[in-house]
């Protein structure tokens, strides 16, 4: 009897002890897998310039009144170091370089300029059109020693075009593709260029005709993909200049647009949120006579650029004809850092935007101040630059700016600086299992 009682008591005690232990059990403290961050020596920067523009349709009417090929062309590449040929263009072992081209006649008469770019794996070209009278020539350059493969996706007013263009770009070569061959009759295009390997330098030549008259030619440089963008230079001194803003949100977005002048935010009837459908390219005409910048704030990443069109009297015309020139300025994500660019043409101006009250100092490569100004928050200032073509200028701070070249004869071009702070590389690595499981 006693043994029964003792046994029962013992097992109840064991059960109670077990219950107590499991109730107070606290999970073991574990050391998390630690990651390591390493600084990687940056590879020497290399930029590639696309080279001279082409008449998109070839040499139709090579002479006489219908001549399309230009006969007056000035093409220059400015870089701090000697350049080497790369296809039709040139490459330079430098972080910055610029090319400028002045064409005095033919179908692609006009001014064009652009900063030569470094190879990227994913880039967005906002600009161009493939509708009647428009041609978009994509130039892909691979200045590296490794092959690359680029996949070009075209977006239009109805969204993403199903067909993509896959282009292999050999080391040290350049490839040209007419976008209209992939997606014709698009009045507004945005191109996404995704590359493998070392990446490619992508540029888009946007050339247009209005009847027999040239209607503008310009290079489109990549736009940043961000929720907040600034297009620092829209409009021109010409009061008849027309500005079109082009937007696209890959995932869709609600965007607030603001016009910025040297006085601050300008009233605009659109001033409510604009809803962008995913992949749909939207063009918005801006009020005429504007010379300033555009701020874009979205709830999802967007790309944007603005096209400024300036009319002029045509060189040869019948009654009522008007010729045009245009420039594309891409959206820049404003961030603290150093922006640098090469002056493409003597007499270029800088349109500089600051989100905050700031003092902008434009210096040359020797550190000398070329121009400086005080900026109030959310204003844009147009600064005259007293520097020769080919001079490397830079700013430090939180700004967005662009060179704008404009002639009284109605020619227009722009080029944007490059961010010099992007060259530092780090990598954070962590040892992990594979497959990790969901």
């Amino acid at each position: 009897m006693i043994s029964r009682i003792v046994t029962r008591f013992t097992v109840v005690l064991v059960a109670a002890l077990g219950a107590f232990a499991v109730y107070v059990a606290s999970p073991a403290t574990l050391e998390a897998s630690s990651s390591s961050t390493f600084s990687i020596a940056s590879p020497a920067p290399v930029v590639a310039c696309p080279g001279p523009q082409h008449v998109p349709v070839g040499d139709v009417g090579a002479g006489g009144d219908l001549a399309s090929e230009p006969t007056q062309r000035t093409f220059s590449v400015y870089a701090p170091v000697p350049t080497t040929p790369l296809g039709d263009g040139q490459a330079a072992d430098s972080a910055v370089a610029t090319q400028v081209e002045i064409i005095g006649d033919g179908d692609i008469e006009g001014w064009s300029a652009m900063s030569c770019g470094q190879a990227q794996l994913d880039q967005w070209l906002v600009g161009g059109a493939t509708s009647l009278g428009s041609s978009a020539r994509l130039v892909l350059a691979n200045p590296s020693a490794a092959p690359a493969e680029a996949t070009v996706t075209v977006y239009g007013p109805l969204g993403q075009v199903q067909n993509t263009l896959v282009v292999a770009v050999a080391p040290g070569s350049q490839v040209n593709k007419l976008v209209e061959a992939v997606a014709a009759e698009l009045p507004a295009t945005v191109l996404r260029v995704q590359a493998t390997g070392p990446g490619v330098v992508a540029s888009l030549q946007d050339s247009r005709l209005e009847g027999f008259q040239p209607a503008g030619t310009e290079w489109v440089a990549p736009s940043d993909l961000a929720k907040t963008l600034v297009i620092p230079a829209v409009g021109a001194q010409d009061a008849n200049a027309a500005v079109t803003l082009r937007l696209m949100a890959p995932e869709g977005a609600s965007v607030e647009l603001s016009l910025v002048s040297d006085k601050g935010i300008e009233p605009w009837s659109v001033g409510r949120a604009l809803v962008l459908e995913p992949g749909v390219v939207t063009d918005i005409d801006l009020p005429r006579g504007l010379a300033g910048a555009i701020e874009l704030r979205a709830d999802s990443a967007i790309v944007a650029a603005a096209r400024t069109v300036v009319p002029r009297a045509p060189r040869e015309s019948i009654e009522g004809d008007v010729a045009y020139d245009h420039m594309w300025v891409s959206g820049e994500a404003v961030r603290e850092g150093t922006l640098a660019g090469v002056v493409p043409l003597q007499g270029a101006r800088i349109a500089v935007y600051s989100p905050t009250n700031a003092h902008v100092v434009v210096q040359d490569s020797g550190g000398a101040t070329v121009v400086e100004a005080d900026l109030t928050a959310r204003t844009v200032q147009w600064l005259d630059v007293a520097a020769p073509a080919g001079a490397e200028l830079s700013t430090k701070g939180e700004f967005a700016w662009a060179f704008v070249l404009e002639s009284d004869a109605g020619y227009l071009a722009s080029s944007e600086p490059v961010n010099m702070d992007r060259t530092g590389l780090t990598a954070t690595v962590v040892s992990a299992r594979f497959p990790a499981g969901a």
């Binding site: 064991v14 574990l30 954070t428 962590v430 499981g437």
Partner: protein, 1027 residues
Amino acid sequence: MSTPFVRAVLATDGRTDYLPTALAAIAASEYAPSVVHLVLVDGAGPPDLFGLDVEIFTSFVDTYAAAIDELLDAQPARDGELLWLLHDDIAPAPDALGKLVATMGKRPRAAIVGAAHVRWRDSSRLVNLGTTVSRIGARRIPLVVEDDINQGQHDWREDVLAVSLAAALVRREAFERLGGIDRGYGGFGDSLEFCRRAWASGLDVVVEPSALVRHAQASLYGARSAGRGRASTHARRRVSDWHHAFAWAPLWLVPLLAILVPLSVIVRVPIRIAQNAPRIALAELVVPAFLIRRLPAIASSAAAHRRIGATKAIERRLFAAPKQVMDAVRQRELGVFERSRAENVPSDLVRAELESSRATHRLSLLIVTMVATAAAAALGIGWIRALAGGQMITGPGVGNTGLSSSDVWSRAWTGWSDAGFGSPGIDGAFAGLMAPLAVLPGGLRVTLGVLLVAAPLLAALAAWRAAGHATRGSWMRVSAALVYALWPPFLAAIFDGRVGPVIAHIALAIAADAFARATGWRRGELVGAREELDSAAASPSAGLATALALTVATVAQPVLLIPVIVVIVVLGVGASRSRRRLGGMLSVPVVVGLPGLVAAARYAAHPADALSILAREPGPGSSWQGDAWRIALGVSDTDRWAPLTRGASVIGWVGACVLIVAAFAALLSRSAWRSAAVGLALVGIGLGVSWWSASSTVAWADNAGGGAIAGWPGAGSSLVALGALVAALGADGTLRGLDGRRFAMGRVVGASLGTLAVGASLATVVFMAWPGAVRGSATVEASSVLPLAVPLDQEGPYRQRVLVLDERDDGSIAYTVLSHDGSSEAIGRADLGPTGEPLGTSGATSVDVSSIAATVAEASRSGEANLDALAAWGIGAIVVTQGGDGIRSALDQNGALTMAGVSERGTAYRVGDGSASRAWVDVDGKKLPLRSTATEGSLRQYVVGGGTLVIAVPAGKGWQAWADGSTLKPVEDAFGRAAFAIPTAASHVSYAYRDPSQRWWWWAGAVAVAWALVGAVPLGRSKELAA
């Protein structure tokens, strides 16, 4: 007709207590022998002679045959003299001699008339009524089944090939003509030899079934020597069987017999082990050696045949026909006769009742099978489809389950873990557990998946069997089986891919079933007021089956080893009669789990670490954080239910509450308190195990990317479920044997609670199967996780490793070094300690894969990265998973890499010229790769000026290398790899991982498991083998 002269000869060595009874029986004989000789051999003293007129003859020879010969040499023969050869353990019936003499008189050609031998203590049981042999003669076949009841059914027998010479009447003239008893047989088989000589000489051998003699068989049972039981004489008897076969075999048959001897051993030893007769198994092993010693005696016997003219043909009908041999095997070896008799013991009425109960239980089994199958299918239908489609089950901490059988075997055999750069393991037991699954059709991917999907069904069947030992109530049995099979933590473990706890849960139920059968602690079918067991109460085979099941459970979840030892030791203390069998149950899990115990003992100075080692998670499973008591008590985790059904969370508590309350209530029972006490103790221990698991770091970082993990308390929860069911079912089983309204009420309440618990369990399954439910973290993926060509290099002759780079959303780069097509937890984790040191005994240092972190970072960002560090560790390929554009960009530009292909599994690059290898000989900077496996390799090439053998694994004493047979000396290596100096002019270089302690353990474990596997076969055995 004159009365023949009968000379009774009784030889004794004085070593048994039967002599007085034997003499008294002779004195009481109705037919008095003419003269009785008492031969005292080996110093035996004169006994009480009961007034018998006995001539005492003292002999100093050492065998019965020699003593008889010595006596007869001293006693001249008389005309027609008959010898009555008696042993001191034989007591003839009063009329036995008279019947023998009468039969001898009727059969003038008979040289020998044998008596019917019956049991010493039960003269109704037959022991011997003549013997025969097969044509080959290597098996003695008795003509009656031992212990058969003598009902006169053998009275028709007359001419037989042989009778026992004990108490047989032999004509002296024939005795001398046939050369007497062949001393070479050593006391066993000499009767058969003598009788066969008689037949071969033209004489007859006759048995007289009505002449009964009680025979104690002292020699057979080893009573004359130090041996105990029949097993002690088994080897000598088997040798005598072969002696007989060889002695009578024609020359052409001798080679065949020589082949049959070892074959016989090979066949018989496993059978003896299966019959749980280890002494007889050992005896079978020594037979060939004894037989070689017996060769002169065999030659002597054969010569005697020719000398005495025993060369005539013997009638074929006297020999055993093949069918007779088969019957003898079945009856004598496999115990068919005993089983048949046991089955026929109950009356027809009882048998009808039992058959009715069996039908009910079959119905309950059908219900359990159908419900469990439906539950498993409802929960696992997605996995079934995926497995059929070639995918595998994986998940956090699970890794690749599609590993090859050679990978599984390598880990099981060597203990070497190939994770990361590799490390010595504690053991390869978990891989050993996976090995049978890996060799089944479909490989580990399919069988492991099927195991997980079918786990509820397997658990239900095992629990149903086990429950039947505690209660014969069909519904309670069904309830218990379903509650155990659908125990929420068990289901959670299945759907988290925790293979170890799943296997342990099933194995514990199997162990409970086998344990009950092994100890006889179980209930029989109630027929009236009596319990009828369907088989022997306690089974030694079941004891070894218990050992096997416990081994599986403790290998799958080592945290169970110590509790299992404690429980069985405590039970052994309380049940002295079963102590030996309980000890046997422990032996296998302890031997197999010994390396873990040793590893824990090495950390005795750090008790928390030692406890963590004992509670280690050996296989797949992710870290767990939460309330351990919820898991321990089996409360459903509503996060695994469909969101719509989470409002019914109270249902998740029902099963656990019913079970625990029932277990405590059972303790109050007067009749069932023992089983309730055992059950509740199991509940308490299970709760403790849950605490232990949950508070332990059950695996530290594996130096290959797997971080430390906290334990899952599921194994303890399985014990809780088992204990609660033992207590509750034990009480129910007792209630069924009791009469009265109170007990009837108890049965009704029990059945109601069982129904409630089953309902709650099924509701949980429904909620988990509901659309939208997230049952667990395990998922399905393609069975091959690396691009197609890469695993070929991993399995190829140079055993290249692969570096996998995965760019995460936060921009960081996850890297993994793989020797297999994915992480390999499914064949066992790396056994590393808290500071990364190997827990196995053969590793002193361990190099972490983080040693290549800087190279990985640089390679992922810069096309100019130097990749020498990768090749230094045998990494021959880099795979970048989908989306790693930045990484691919850098690798594309790296001149040291060649793109090998792009697929949906990633982009593969070859490092250098693709010649990386696991091991190579470095000769002045030139690499000569060795053909390698994960743990060994070799090179047959002339190494002129000597060099250095480099093995791309962390250095450790388990790695050894040889050049032309000479052991190489290890040398320091800058990377911490295993390296050895090769002398000049070596032509054959080889290396291997050989952990001596692992190898010893492996063989010990293999022998223990093999013994248990064979012994667990429920092979019947006769009393002869049981004796």
